[in-house]
Amino acid sequence: MRGSVIVLAAAGILLPAVAGPVTAVERFPRPDFETAYEMPATQAPLPRGAAWDWIDVVLMVVALAVASYFGLRRRSRLGLLLLSVACVLYFGFWRHGCVCPVGAVQNVAMGLFGQGYAVPLTVIFLFLLPLLFALLFGRVFCAAVCPLGAVQDLVVWKPIRLPVWLTGVLGSIPVVFLGLGVLAATAGAGFLICRLDPFVGFFRLGASMPMMVFGVALLALGVVVARPYCRFLCPYGVLLGWLSRLAKWHVTITPTECINCRLCEDACPFGAIRVPTPQATETRRVGVRRLTLLLGLLPVFVVGGGWVVSRMYIPMSRLHPVVLQAERVLGEDLGLVEGTTLESDVFRRSGVPESDLYAEALAVRRRFRNGSWIFGSFLGLVIGVRLIEFSVRRKREFHTIDRESCLSCGRCFLACPKERELREGMKAAG
């Protein structure tokens, strides 16, 4: 018996020398057990139940409601602060910050326009709930619930005021990120927003070096430039900002009325407080002419944006691993690149014909080409509308909040003397 095994072994040892496809081949016969041997089962432990995900949804609703209460009704910065600590601990460190509403944009996009992916119900709720609350109460999710935001909020110490033009330019990055993330997700290239999540490594207590560096850098920056990810990177914030502008109720600086004492002007670390405008500096005619021009240019922006971005569909398609692999294999075949990579090696050993790989890569490229037109048009539209907004000089009599960029953190409350008056009054009343 032993001898035959050795002979088979000798034959089998020669086989690995031939680099054939490495899949299951039944080289050795099944054993014929004479004793009462019981074959163990293959280990396959079951995952955590879905019930836990529903608990997260419920807790999300509770946290959003509590944030709305503290921000709008109680007007308590302390309450919001405590809530943000609690949310960092639960949604961040306990739940590892994943799946989160920020990333859920991609899941929903993939579910709507991707192939064969049905978004889990819990993820749909996580995506919609902060948006719904934003439509009603403003960006209360950002105020104290989002663990990414809360972590940054807790390190704000000496925030500097950025010039308006810079905030405007940097504020376009989240829109690009949103479009690119949705494009990558729908084209099957994976979740770009998740890859660039700076804090998930901290929450998981384990991250790659680049991830760790990115997170630490953002937190360090966050000490002087308040909430850099939220203001200049977060793709979900784009949606929250738009809905917050339509909000039925919203935090206000003053609990009663604004007396233009100007004490709140430096209270907002995010630059979301709008000061009263001086008297009109231009005639109505000039303003109308400019507005008409910009409105007329809007379709140009949309089509132009679509055209410009679509020119870049080939480099963007390299987000997809199949495209990279196909390019590498083709490059090697044509002698354009030296040596091989693990990806090209594995492909050649798999026995799949090259034409299949190229066909798949071309299909992915086509998805990117169509998607990049949509992405570019969307970008053009947003830029065009922004320009229109900048050009419309709206008269402001009092100090008001810019609802799109206000994160409802409540720091401005105590800056307002009317608020202080109210609190003194409440304290005196007992």
């Binding site: 040892i13 690995p16 080289r27 004479e34 799946v99 919609l128 890859r195 692999q325």
Partner: protein, 184 residues
């Protein structure tokens, strides 16, 4: 007086209208999503037929050690004395000595069943998911050892870090009720 209030009323009307539209849009998106969702939860899993045992499962996972481990399809195993997944190639003595083992963490336990059969079991607490034994078993064996994502460890990241770097694109999402792609 009328000139002053008109723009404000118009703006307020627009705002209320847009709010209603957005609320309806969110509701529609939610309902559409729910209609398609069918209570499906997903988990990541790797297809052992596509896997080429490159070793990235051990290093790319966000967890340390990796959530990917080797499992054994006993029904496919030949129970050989000289095991392609257990023993180094060209071993002089076919025994359980450490220097003769392929596994870098000695996670495979070799127990005698009856002549000439030996049972090979994997201690998952020691396994790091490097796939060396899988490669050995596939080259010189029945391919009964293979890698799988273990769901008592996997945190189910929205974007699996291993899936992203797998050269064979062997990772895909599977329903949570059937989270394994077992051989045999």
């Amino acid at each position: 007086m009328k000139q002053r209030t008109d723009p404000v009323e118009r703006r307020d009307f627009l705002r209320r209208g847009l709010r209603g539209i957005m609320a309806a849009a969110l509701g529609a998106a939610g309902l559409t999503g729910m209609a398609r969702a069918r209570k499906k939860e997903w988990r990541w899993q790797l297809d052992p037929e596509k896997c080429r045992q490159c070793g990235r499962c051990a290093t790319a996972c966000v967890l340390s050690p990796s959530a990917v481990k080797c499992v054994h399809a006993y029904a496919l195993c030949g129970y050989c004395d000289l095991c392609g997944g257990y023993h180094q190639p060209y071993v002089k003595d076919v025994d359980s000595a450490a220097e003769n083992q392929l596994c870098p963490t000695s996670a495979i336990r070799r127990t005698f069943v009856e002549d000439p059969y030996y049972e090979y079991t994997i201690d998952q607490d020691l396994c790091i998911g490097c796939g060396v034994c899988v490669k050995g078993c596939a080259s010189f064996g029945n391919g009964s050892l293979f890698l799988q994502v273990m769901h008592d460890r996997c945190v189910n990241c929205n974007e699996c870090a291993i899936a992203r770097v797998c050269p064979a694109q062997a990772f895909r999402r599977v329903p949570a009720e059937q989270p394994y792609l077992l051989k045999g």
